[in-house]
Amino acid sequence: MILSLKNTFAQIGDAALFAKRFFKEVFIPPYEVKEFLKQCYVIGYKSLPLVTITGFIMGLVLTLQSRPTLVKFGAESWLPGMVALSLIREIAPVITALICAGKISSGIGAELGSMKVTEQIDAMEVSAINPYNYLVVTRILACTLMVPILVFYADAIGIIGGYVGINIHGDVNFYRYLTQIIQSLDFLDVIPAAIKTFFFGYFIGMIGCYKGFNAENGTESVGRAANSAVVTASLSIFIIDMVAVQITDLFF
């Protein structure tokens, strides 16, 4: 029990050092721009279909589920604003981040884990190439920048989904729908939600890289690294979200 606790703390400490190293290495040349752009393409562009489908369904389902309650209270006109607020403040960031944890974090964990097991990371090291700079910095940076963009995109698609949902039972003009959304949104609804998505992105990338980079020898550990990356990244998203909501609540 004590040994297991000790190992857990040792791993947290190790992960913290790994995370800290990013802030040092990100400013040290060589800047791997080509690899960074490639990762932006893989993490951002390649996730678009998944985010489009889930974003649309989120908006549609949220509208359809909320409508009966609002109708009961005679507040159906609040539906666009409520859907947009729920999507932008909470649902789109968390669901998109969870999708990214499943797709990106596991992908990075498996890719780097397999590179570690097949000695590709060692091959970089002995060739005097900094594997942390080339593999980790580029992936974490791409995640940190792409996840907020994907969330912003999911917000937009979710709002379109909401519009479709509203028009299943009624007939609302898209211009009027958008006007209602914009009127109900505040600056403080958007900014804290946007800020937390950068943290989501950073942790998704960092956890995937950490798990892959520290995979033990053997192909079995590749699967373990990918699985562990998803679980840890998903858990960290909920923890960050909880902290972010508390901080937002405290200051705004």
Partner: protein, 259 residues
């Protein structure tokens, strides 16, 4: 014939005067009690090919990984080009690493890159000032030196085991190393391909004047490439000599490699 042997002897004596790798009292233990190296001492001279024999798990790979700083030993001293690599900073160690080539057992090609990119990536990392044309020419030259010019656009997954090792060797050679460390270069290959790889090692030694440490279980490879052989047993050097000397050794353990 006798004169030729004498010349070789004189040459080998001269080589002994310029050690390029020196290992003293090297110890390494994994976990609590898995001791793989118990005080290894060895020296590799300039232009020499040293073959290391030993059973699996006897610490051969660990030893060469210590030389390039991939594994940190518990105790001992490793001097490469007269510098103790264990006391060097990362930056200083990297200056030594660019003079050392390392051929991994699996070839360790970067899976996400084509053969061209595998070589070009390594070259560009060291010589960022090179133009694309120069990089391309050097890549082609390195691939042709291992007889695989036609594989330039292939992905590692499309290559056979022997081809992967050759490409791995080309990637090592592209930075013109002075020392090459071979980790079981012929393991898992058929007899003909193994012989081709051994010939390639010999060819590289003669053309590029490199010094090498070759870890192998393949006695045909050892016979072809070794200037000197070291046999590791229980974490220490058990026997040392030329192939011919060890072949006649009375020791049962040593004999088991040659029978």
């Amino acid at each position: 014939m006798i004169e030729e042997e004498k010349n070789t002897e004189t040459k080998s004596k001269n080589k002994k005067q310029t050690p390029i790798i020196e290992i003293r009292d090297l110890h390494k233990t994994f976990g609590k009690d898995n001791t793989v190296l118990k005080g290894v001492n060895l020296m590799v001279n300039k232009g020499e090919d040293l073959v290391i024999l030993g059973r699996s798990g006897s610490g051969k790979s660990v030893m060469i990984k210590c030389i390039v700083g991939l594994i940190e030993p518990d105790k001992g001293e490793i001097k490469v080009f007269d510098e103790n690599v264990l006391n060097l900073s990362k930056k200083e160690l990297n200056k030594i690493r660019v003079k050392i080539g390392f051929l991994f057992q699996s070839g360790a090609l970067y899976d996400s890159m084509s053969v061209r990119e595998n070589l070009a990536f390594t070259l560009r990392a060291h010589k960022r000032e090179l133009t694309e044309d120069v990089v391309e020419n050097e890549v082609i030259e390195a691939l042709e030196s291992v007889g695989l010019g036609g594989a330039i656009d292939k992905m590692p997954s499309e290559l056979s085991g022997g081809m992967r090792k050759r490409i791995g060797l080309a990637r090592t050679l592209i930075i013109n190393p002075e020392i090459i460390l071979y980790d079981e270069p012929t393991t898992g290959l058929d007899t003909i391909t193994s012989r081709e790889i051994s010939e390639l090692i010999l060819d590289i030694k003669h053309k590029q004047k490199t010094s090498s440490i070759i870890i192998t279980h393949d006695m045909a490879c050892a016979k072809m490439t070794a200037d000197r052989i070291i046999v590791l047993k229980d974490g220490i050097i058990h026997a040392e000599g030329t192939y011919e000397e060890l072949e006649k050794d009375e020791d049962e353990w040593v004999r088991s490699f040659f029978d």
